[in-house]
């Protein structure tokens, strides 16, 4: 059994434990490579099926390729696809692109603050409301291919998330099963013990648990697995001839492509192993991650 197989088997075990213990379970699908690998692992765990809803928070600033890819896979895999959105913030133009348009002379520091605030509204807040059932939920009708208002407004108590420990400092402290209190807060200082694959599966009413099947995976593992299993990914990850590609997918206004001529999975693996990306942090293209920016967002419910 090689390392990739070990990672796969542990993830499958975790997904099955989650499915067993949470009646109100969902998986967050950001459309990026990590959560798409996680979706694939769910099909591994449940023998080709995905027996819980996939939740995507659409900020409305996602690159169009991502949305097209999401809906194509959802139809193909017959996914229970649920999409949430902070419609109030969008209507009130309480977003970074709107603020920048209104005040084009913002300094870099002011922009950084506005970006973090925007993530807070369109991602963290929207996600919280979608999971709790208080926000807008739309569900894909697999017959028509159209999204319709979701009649289910119950909160989810188990949320599967594709966080990896190697991404960034605070994520390396996560448990496989990580409780969040009534206010969505992650108490980093007082986490439950987790050993011998016995997870936190009992929880007080009103609280919920985040489940992290990819915790032990690295960026390289993700790409090696995509290659091994031939998992379809968004075209944005590959250079289409312009000499740039996205290394990590977010919103258009806050996501810069990197200079790279990797045209396929093999090129990316080679680039990660020996090329120029070897020593550059993966999220460096994400403009909202400053000092403590991501950690604060995470405490507030960001993934």
């Amino acid at each position: 059994m090689d390392h990739l197989e070990q990672l796969e088997q542990q993830s499958v075990f975790i997904l099955r434990e989650a499915f067993r213990h949470f009646e109100r379970l969902c998986m967050l699908w950001s459309i990026g490579k990590d959560s798409t690998v996680m979706l694939w692992l769910a099909r591994k765990a449940f023998f080709g099926h995905v027996p819980f809803p996939l939740v995507h928070v659409d900020t409305s600033y996602k690159l169009p390729e991502m949305i097209a890819y999401r809906d194509k896979l959802a139809m193909e895999y017959k996914l229970q696809m649920v999409v949430g959105q902070n419609v109030e913030a969008l209507a009130a133009k309480d977003t970074f692109p709107d603020r920048l348009a209104a005040n084009p002379k913002m300094t870099v520091e002011e922009q950084a603050i506005a970006r973090t605030a925007c993530c807070g509204k369109l991602k963290a807040e929207a996600l919280g409301a979608t999971l709790h059932g208080t926000g807008v939920r739309r569900r894909l009708n697999l017959e028509t291919g159209q999204y319709e208002p979701d009649h289910d407004h119950q909160p989810y108590t188990g949320v599967i998330v594709g966080a990896r420990a190697d991404e960034e400092g605070s994520r390396s402290k996560e448990r496989y099963f990580s409780p969040r209190d009534k206010n969505n807060v992650w108490d980093v200082g007082d986490q439950p013990p987790e050993f011998w694959n016995q997870f936190k599966t009992d929880f007080a009413p009103g609280t919920h648990v985040r489940i992290h099947p990819l915790l032990d995976w690295t960026e390289l593992n993700i790409w090696e697995y995509i290659k091994r299993e031939s998992i379809p990914t968004v075209s944005l990850y590959y250079d289409q001839g312009a000499g740039t590609r996205y290394r990590s997918l977010g919103c258009g206004p806050c996501q810069a492509p990197i200079k790279s001529t990797s045209k396929n999975v093999d090129d990316i693996i080679a680039e990660l192993k020996s090329g120029k990306l070897k020593n550059i942090a993966e999220r460096s293209g994400r403009l909202q991650d400053g000092k403590h920016g991501l950690e604060e967002l995470r405490r507030d419910g960001y993934m």
């Binding site: 980093v188 032990d216 403590h292």
Partner: protein, 605 residues
Amino acid sequence: MIKNARVPEVERQTFNVVIVGHVDHGKSTVVGRLLADTGALPQGKLEAVRRECERTGKPFEYAFLLDALSDEQDQGITIDTARCFFKSATRDYIIIDAPGHIEFLKNMISGAARAEAAVLVIDAKEGVRENSRRHGYILAMLGIRQVVVCVNKMDLVGYDQKHFRAIEAEYRAFLEGIGAVSPRAFVPVSAIAGENLASRGKETPWYDGPTLLELLDALPKAPPKTEQPLRMPLQAVYKFTKHGDDRRIFAGRIEAGRVAVGDKIVFSPSNKISTVRSIEAFNVVPPRTDIEAGWSTGLTLTEEIYVTRGEVMSHVGRPPLVSTRLRANMIWLGKSPFVPGRDYKLKLGTAAVPVQLHKINKVIDASELDHRLAKEQVDRNDVADVILEVRHQVAFDLTADCEATGRFVIVDGYDVAGGGIVTAAIADDLRDLRAEARMRDFNWVPGGVTAADRARRWKHRAALVMFVGKADSGKERYARALERALFDAGHSAYMLDGQNVLLGVDNDLWVDAAQSELVRRFGEVVHLLLNAGLIVVSTTNAIGLADATAVQALIPDAPMLLIDIDPADASTQACDLRVRGTESDADIISQITALLDKRQITSVP
């Protein structure tokens, strides 16, 4: 000296190492320095941390590289385990930096339980301290046998050899005293100066042993568990009928051994036997015909059997132990103490059952670990030798025979509050009955109609509804009414009055025959009726609430509902339904049929 040639990428192994030790003895510094010296840090990370230190006026420390969370940088201690990655010439490492502060012992254990080896750091100047000892004990309990001790901060004691040897002697003696495995090696290091970590230093000419990194590279991987007896704790039985898939898949992770298509297997404690028909997987072509330890797999079986999560699948010849009592070494992490007489939940493999602390053999004061305390409870951070009693029998192994099925955690309320390893199975009163049932079931000659066939025709599984209580308390009236109600609902039910067993099967017994023999015969008669697929409704004066566990031991494969008729409502013994005997038939029957439905007896999935 150990020389290591560079191993090519494709053949490289990953190795998990945990760093433990007393608070402030320099664990994070050891890790930070290892990362820096092996070139594992992302470009600019070291400079960024140095700049941040200059900005805030703090002296630069390697530990800041790891203590990425603001909480920790402010307090200067590791709160939780952080994971980081680096490569040596021969393999890839995952380093788990565990906190040394006593308050965060549960985090230390969470980190250490994942490791294949440990580096224990002792401050040369402070010497062996409370958590140096406690962590040493816990590593032994967690089954981590490969331990390297770093005597750190040698610069503070002038790289003095005598000082180093004294600490080595003291710590080795301590570990020997608690029966733990002696460490592989002691290395004198100064993490801050990079002495003897990734490269040899000049300050310790008297030390000719390997550096820490060389020692780590030389630690062997644990041998695979594929040659042990087969153990697969059942995680779930899946049937995705709604998705147009009729396969009934028995899923779980194979923790030890291997299994192949055509193998005869048994589930414990139910003793249900079947044969492996196929090994199922998504995107695996062609399908595998055998599979071994480490795989989270799924099997279909030739005979449909009804088994539930928590049972352990094995080959028939090498089943796990089954009991209600186990002896264990454990650590308690809960905010409230672990006390006798209270219900907790035991999670072992995939089983989760109510458990009580039956007896404390001894509590070991972890700060000294040589005072054996006579205590009435196990307090937070205590290590103890105990006997646990579970409400329903569970399948398990001794930890020495199979790690994964020989260890457990205990849940108090909503939280995992303790964990331990099984050191012995304690014989309970039911051992002989259980052995009888096993022998009988393993050699049972099946007919041509299976339990699944019967369940499909009669729309229920076999089950026992057992009424207990004093004579004339109304047992018989309820039993009769229930039999009729089930029959009228199209089920196949049969009322077994204990009197009828006495008249025939027990005819050879004298009036003063042992109660245990009456119970045994009654249980075996029930077993035959259950094998015929019936819902048996029993009522008997001879067999009471106390005998219920003995009956259950003889019918481990069948669900049992225990209805206690207790006019005074005074009993505290566990049962499924307690009634006074004054309730109407209809009321009691509707409650019982609801239970039968909930237990998936009359609502066959």
